[in-house]
Symmetry: D2
Subunit: 442 residues, 4 copies
């Protein structure tokens, strides 16, 4: 199963230029390097499963993007840093030529990490020069924004892929210090917010950047529904386990049950029995006691769906989710994102907000955990992929994957928005994926 680094085409003008292009560029590139800083060359070279890529590959591939799609096009005397890298670090752009097979990225011991860093440095210098000269070229500006969005997606993958790699080590090594306070406050109680039936509109509404899968904005009829005020917590999910949820096929989709049984799964990806009847959770800060109040994370679609069924609820559709985000006026920028440095979800704050005429407020819509929806990843009506290699694969992944919404603790702030569509196959668990319950309105 191939796990794409998501589609890339651009369907909107670049973000307005409050921040100069050179600064935006430098900030995103620096954030990537900050992520890799705690890691050794060996850490950056290993690939723990076909779905994940080595950090070195992420560092190189994001650089390849700028060299291939921008410098090659705009530099007067373009010469690649190393012509071989064009194949080595192509992900899946058939228009750009051949690719190295994905499951063997961990065998690319050459170039070494130091060389990749040199390449990054050289490309950064060339990009800076180019942006200073021609930063107001609209096509260049568009591609720049796309390249930066692309690099931000890979920042999240660096976090998830390193986490998976470290989890394979028997010593559970930590990537960073402990994520958050040792003792959480209790999670806010779960309440339901009601939404009426009616014609909603989903999809990106300008201005600002979006990927082409967020377009066109279009009407969707929604039946009345309720949405939970926050994601499901570890304590709630543990109750499902304790009630025998992993042993009873009645809660599971048939394919999910076969999947669970074939792999003998009894808990979320990074949970481990602590030997005393409790649970530990592997985090980027190493193994930690499971924190009751935090959102449950690293669930497959199958687990999220089974939990929802057990809880007499269901997953929301992506239209329900997006409509709710619009209605509640939730600002994507206010969640707990990667920029906090705490690469683990935190509890929903207890709130004093009364349930006004609009009902209780929705918490943690953005950040903390990606929320599985019941919507398969499909083109919006009128979807048109962009032209050229950059947009070549736009619709290629729109089958047998499901949409997740809202961003996670590993998503760069500013990358999330209400119309953003993340997507993964139903068995994927290594992303920061959790769930929020929905139900038909009663």
């Amino acid at each position: 199963m191939r796990m794409p680094a998501h589609d890339l085409s651009l369907n909107a003008p670049p973000a307005p230029g409050a921040v100069p292009a050179t600064e935006r560029y430098a900030a995103v590139r620096a954030a990537t390097e900050r992520l890799a800083r705690p890691l050794s060359p060996e850490d950056c070279g290993a690939q723990s499963m076909p779905d994940a890529s080595p950090v070195k590959w992420h560092l190189a591939h994001t650089t390849w993007f700028f060299e291939t799609f921008i410098l090659e096009r705009f530099e007067p005397q373009f010469a690649p840093f190393d012509a071989d890298f064009r194949v080595l670090f192509n992900s899946y752009y058939q228009g750009v030529g051949r690719q190295h097979p994905r499951p063997q990225r961990g065998l690319l011991t050459r170039p070494g990490l130091a060389t990749v860093r040199q390449w990054r440095g050289q490309v950064d210098a060339r990009m800076r020069r180019l942006l200073e000269l021609r930063g107001d070229d609209p096509e260049l500006a568009t591609l720049l924004t796309l390249g930066l969005q692309h690099e931000q997606q890979h920042q999240e993958l660096i976090a998830t892929d390193v986490k998976h790699l470290l989890s394979c080590h028997p010593a559970c090594p930590a990537y960073q210090d402990a994520p958050g306070p040792a003792h959480d406050a209790a999670a806010a109680p779960l309440r339901w917010r009601h939404f009426d039936a009616g014609l909603a509109h989903i999809g990106h509404e300008g201005p600002g950047f979006c990927f082409d899968n967020e377009l066109p904005r279009h009407p969707v009829w929604l039946q009345p529904y309720d949405l939970a005020t926050r994601p499901v917590t570890n304590a709630e999910y543990r109750a499902f386990i304790d009630a025998g949820g992993y042993r009873d096929p009645v809660w599971w989709l048939a394919e999910g049950w076969d999947w669970r049984r074939a792999q003998q799964l009894e808990q979320p990806l990074y949970w481990r029995a602590d030997g005393a009847g409790g649970w530990q959770e592997f985090t980027l800060a190493g193994a930690q006691p499971l924190a009751d109040a935090r959102p449950v994370v690293h669930l497959s679609y199958f687990e999220a769906d089974a939990y929802a069924r057990w809880a007499d609820a269901r997953l929301p559709t992506e239209a329900e989710w997006e409509h709710a985000a619009q209605e509640c006026g939730a600002a994507a920028g206010q969640g707990h994102f990667a920029d906090s440095g705490v690469l683990h979800p935190l509890p929903a704050a207890s709130q004093q907000t009364s349930a006004g005429s609009d009902g209780p407020a929705l918490q943690q819509l953005f950040g903390d955990v990606w929320e599985w929806t019941s919507s398969s990843y499909a083109p919006y009506p009128g979807f048109r992929p962009a032209a050229g290699a950059v947009g070549e694969y736009n619709g290629k992944f729109m089958v047998n994957q499901y949409v997740l919404r809202g961003g996670s603790c590993a998503t760069p702030a500013g990358h999330a928005r209400a119309s953003y569509r993340n997507f993964f196959p139903t068995a994927a668990r290594w992303q920061f994926s959790g769930l929020r319950l929905a139900r038909d309105a009663r």
Copy 2:
């Protein structure tokens, strides 16, 4: 991969009683036996792949349904024909107890075909007695209709499963005489019919039987679209092959391309090169020269989608399909179904109908070939599975499968309707599955 024999619960009152229950029962049961008549005990015992079941198993499982869900409940002194059969011929009803593993159904050499036929005969006699006594019991009537609908689903599976089995034999043995005239008329030209944007309603609208996945009827907003007047033909699909369609990843979903390449597929399931630059097609009448004018059949979702992309079109959604069927007033009963005895799709008749104010008529909406839609199989808003073992698995298959509409040449007439939702995984090809093109309206 498990291939369910589809969900079974009933959500509507039984069909009105123009035809007495005993006659309806006898007619359906006799049709099943007619299908098995040309087959030897060996033909009926073999299982050619895990997705398919032996004919003997279909004969037994449909009988098990009546014995388990009706006779056990309504017979005063119920005693099963053979208590072991309860496990042997349970498909996936966990409420009824254990099941024999699906891929090993071909190893159930006991009971033999003769015993299964005795069982059918005994159950038929008991059912007749029961229906004569209590045929007006509404619960019994409901379960009877469900059992007959269930048996009709298995009639179609008998045809597809036997076809797959015979296709594994190097001699390409025929199940029946040649399907249709040796020389077809040309297919009607493909035209487009336009549908305006607006709020449509899909889902079953009483009276009459439907499965619970067709409910509740609900509004759906549709953007404007065009639908082709008939399914894609063999000649049209061959043009895709001749143009290198199976060699160029640009037309394929990424997962579809991987699937195609891993299996080295170059044509639809039953096509074989005839050694002289042309094609033969394996049919239930043995190998036949490929007939240009007939609908292409035995395509996976991946192939249907790739063809549509190549043809600068797309698959319709199930809502688009159902809305069109409603708009055009197409009667499900008028298509080419299994009752014709010709278990192979036939060409669309050439039509003189002018394109009136409504546009050209849609042909072959019902019968001939199931039409892949781009809609993943998902619950309708407000969907509630029925209670009890009969409805136990209602939503179990609603993931990673796609909806097909319209029925096929192997579907019993009267079984199809505009709201009927068939569903299969994207790689399934042994059903009579083809496609009709759609496009965003221009």
Copy 3:
């Protein structure tokens, strides 16, 4: 993994003609049909795993042998019963043309069992006529003997393959009545017989038939060794299980341990816990309480080797086994073979024989269970495969298989001899395979 029906070439003149060829032919062919008599067409058509073949295939393939290698050569106006059968029932003779893929033999529902029986009858009549006319042709006599030996091999495979098929049925159906007395006498105590070092000769010594892998007879130097007087019993093997033998890697070859663990094996192939702390054994007479005194059977090489190691002993080499059989003057004809009709091993009789100068007598060298040796199946020095298609595959299987000696309760009497080399891969368990211990002499 392909499981050949063993090699076939002939390297010795046919057995002397006390019995006329027509009678020998008729007797062997009738024995085959006797074996199939209790089975239905469905029983005869199913294939429970790639290593096993359907009974119908055995009935047809043995007939194919006579038609292809004898009738086609010697009949004046040869015409095959059905030309298609030449491919369908070829096992692996590339010189004869293509073969149907082995794992799909169960899908050959045509021809039916009745047709195969007609074919057998027609070939039998033609063979009788041919033998009456030309029975003294030496080439014909040689091929006849080969064909009959070949058919006897397949008789044993019919028993083992049917046993495996029936074992897959949840009802454990019986092929025959109970094998032997309900209560066994105790097994004879296990004693050791010593053999001195020296130059032994192994390989077939005329007159009489042998397969080419038994030739040439040649010298082998043996170091001193002891051999157990009888095979290991169920009670002895159960002690190994009770002592945790299946849980401790110290007793197992590394590959054997991986094999055992991957399949979660905890006992011999057909043992099942009886739910009360004891064991049942599936036999051709259905499930039976495990009989302490009978030889343990249906072991893989890995299990036989692990048991021997646990018992502070080892498997014998094939040269040690054959030398012992020669020394002890054991007559192959005296064991418990298939002709008894009891297709299950019986206990070693208690003996009064004192340990004379030669040491205690060896029991059950022939019949009851095939005995795994530690010798990999390899050509004898000077081995030359026979010419032509009949001998085409002589050395093809001489890798990664191990030799078994002595014959079993499913081997036709008269088929076994001291130099006979049976061979199977190390993981094979569905043959009647057990073990006899050996040790370096102390």
Copy 4:
């Protein structure tokens, strides 16, 4: 499939002390580090297949051996460098505790290469101190020799594992400069040397070190045979390819043919078509034109056996090989071994030696390429594994593997001897494995 780093127990006194223990220790350890010197941390961390290990793992595991089996036993105040390393770098010694799963050695990014080198340095210092104090302790001396032999085995594996890793890189990177002269002299012509029948003795004959699988020395009867004077060359093997050898099942063992076909193999492991009708060979000096005169290398057992059959010959048995080595007085020290620094086989020198009464001399018995024999890896009569964890796995690998003799260009000089038994499964190709022909004497 697990690929052991071979068994380790010691059955002979250490080599006589011309060279002090500290110097022997330092020399072997330094040779290991020399091998790793051209490699980056990434090169040393990657694992290209389950059979191969990362170089870092080899560096650590050999150190683990000295720390676990010597320092822990003999150091007064033993404390491990890092207690976790005991599990991480255990290969398969169950007596020492758990092991990290072999296929995941490439995921052990911690400790890094620098830490492993520190560990080596610390252990070296402690070993030197210990040897200076107690170097004449016989048990210590025995374990020291064993540890050094063990490390030499891993030196060879470093070469073969790095070669495989680099071969996975599309750029074919070189580990070293070109192996040998650009233009070879022609290979010496292949001649046959005859050996008479008689009782030979094989197995190690003291003094000096050997592994326990070389014991006890014992008599073996040999039939007369001829042995080729040198291994098969690239030119000779290419003739087999050109003659269609990879397309004709007649030359192949049945299992070999299935293996070849399943993987679509058409040439030895590291051969690549050069695009102009010729061949290149990937070597540790990168891709090189195929050199006619050099021994063919990186063959599986199946390929070696198929070639021999095509050449109307066969593989020798290990007894034939060892007897010939004894008869010819070949000195193991004179071959082309790893110490030359040229990690690729070289051509057999043209010789002027006339065929005297003894026949022509045997060339390249030692070094250049390991020679497959037809002998399955099995215990010698009277074999007894050593006690304790060091000898725990002595017989664990004696099944489904075949013996190779003579050492290769990657074997340390002084490590080879006439009785040395290397062994690998029949499909293994990444060792420097070739073949020498034998035949039954005519």
